[in-house]
Amino acid sequence: MALVVKGDSYIEVRKYYTGSAIGAALVALFLQGFLPKYFPHAQVLQLPLLVTIYFSLGRRNAVSGMFLGTGIGLVQDAVSHLPLGVYGIALTVIGYVAAWISSRINVDLPLSRFILTLALYGFERVILTAIERYLLEQPGPILSFYWLIGSVLAATLAVLIFPQLDRLRKS
């Protein structure tokens, strides 16, 4: 744990073991591509998004969160056979916003994690839909019931796995 000067106050910045974020991201990307083969609706969980949210909230560093989101998003684009940048842009924004939020509220509480994940999941859907509409010219609904259920499931999953990921922190 370290203290960082932010304006006139100090905020707590958590440190993780080296390679923990990359490892977690690779696992999430693998599962995101693997699970739908057996459970087609598993894609709704958006595991790379959850990893991005977790490490951005924990590190509380906008630049770090942003680059983590960019990297995870571009890899997700590559494995999803999407144009590079679709998830890249979305997770870049999510990483930046999550880090920005984490410096202002307590993100260790399960309820705050649930609400933040729910909100950021919806925010990602808005970004993705905007990209699909205005860049890819593939109009679709911004939020559907399917994705609404997905956001709740993802937020619930976040509440469950974020404490497991906390073990990657340096004490």
């Binding site: 203290l3 960082v4 630049v63 680059f67 960019t70 940048g85 870049t92």
Partner: protein, 287 residues
């Protein structure tokens, strides 16, 4: 402990998003397989191109309509002056061409009458007295002009020399009331005397009522007045009315007396006319 710069993350974030948007635009293709980034580039650059074209057109318009026309006023004045000079030259050339035409006609007439000694003269003026039908020519005594010499044009009789001065002469037109020309009707040969009138027409006297005269009939000189040679056109019959004891015949002069410029003076009657077997009422015609 690390100190965060408040602006640096935001700039990096904006750059990361912008780079990825451009990356997407490079991959996405729109209609006719054109990359989206090309569409955007065209959208971005077109207003500048349009503005540049408009500006260039404006500059060109300013240049061509104002700056390049700096000397247009002087050029306009110079060209207007040239136009005026050329118009003057054109009028002069037209006058010379008309004069050449008249002189050619005179020459042709002269060549067709080789036995008749002719002297060309130019009309230099007319009498200012009202009702007087007199013109002045640029030939006089020094040129051999004598009183009562006939003056004609290729079209017909003009008049006769009334007064002779050293270098000019006065010609009494055939339309003057005091003028008289021995004449005969073409075709019938009926003789008479053509005189002037108050107007621009002529009258032919001493033609008996029994003679058949028709409008349009030509009237020629008879040569009996010893002034005009025989056969020169005098005029054309306009109207014919029976009179007592002679017909009243009105003629239109053969020569264009209202626009005389060049005339011919008959210096000598080539051959005296044959004496008529009948009494010649026009024998004493001419003053």
């Amino acid at each position: 402990m690390t100190v965060l710069s408040p602006r640096r993350p935001l700039l990096l974030f904006a750059a990361a998003v912008a780079v990825q948007v451009l990356l997407l635009a490079f991959q996405i293709r729109r209609g006719r397989n054109i990359r989206l980034i090309q569409v955007w580039a065209a959208e971005v650059l077109t207003p500048f191109d349009r503005a540049g074209t408009t500006s260039a057109g404006w500059v060109e318009a300013v240049w061509s309509n104002y700056i390049a026309l700096e000397h247009s006023r002087a050029d306009n004045q110079r060209l207007q002056s040239e136009v005026n000079q050329l118009r003057l030259q054109l009028d002069q050339l037209r006058g010379r061409a008309a004069e050449a035409g008249r002189l050619a006609t005179l020459l042709s007439f002269r060549q067709s009458n080789p036995a008749m000694p002719l002297l060309a003269a130019r009309v230099i003026g007319a009498s200012l007295a009202p009702g007087s039908k007199v013109i002045y020519i640029d030939r006089g005594a020094r040129d051999g002009v004598r009183q009562d010499m006939a003056v004609i044009t290729p079209n017909g009789v003009v008049g006769k020399v009334q007064e002779v001065f050293p270098s000019s002469s006065e010609v009494l037109l055939v339309t003057d009331r005091e003028s008289g020309v021995g004449a005969l009707l073409a075709g019938s040969g009926a003789e008479g005397v053509v005189k002037g009138s108050d107007g621009s027409e002529l009258t032919m006297d001493y033609v008996e009522n029994g003679e058949k005269v028709q409008p349009g009939q030509a009237v020629l000189t008879s040569g009996l007045d010893q002034i005009f040679p025989k056969g020169v056109p005098v005029g054309t019959v306009l109207t014919v009315r029976p009179g007592s004891p002679f017909q009243k015949i009105e003629l239109r002069p053969a020569a264009k007396l209202d626009r005389l410029e060049d005339v011919l003076i008959i210096m000598q009657i080539p051959k005296p006319p044959q004496p008529s077997t009948t009494e010649d009422p026009a024998g004493g015609a001419g003053r």
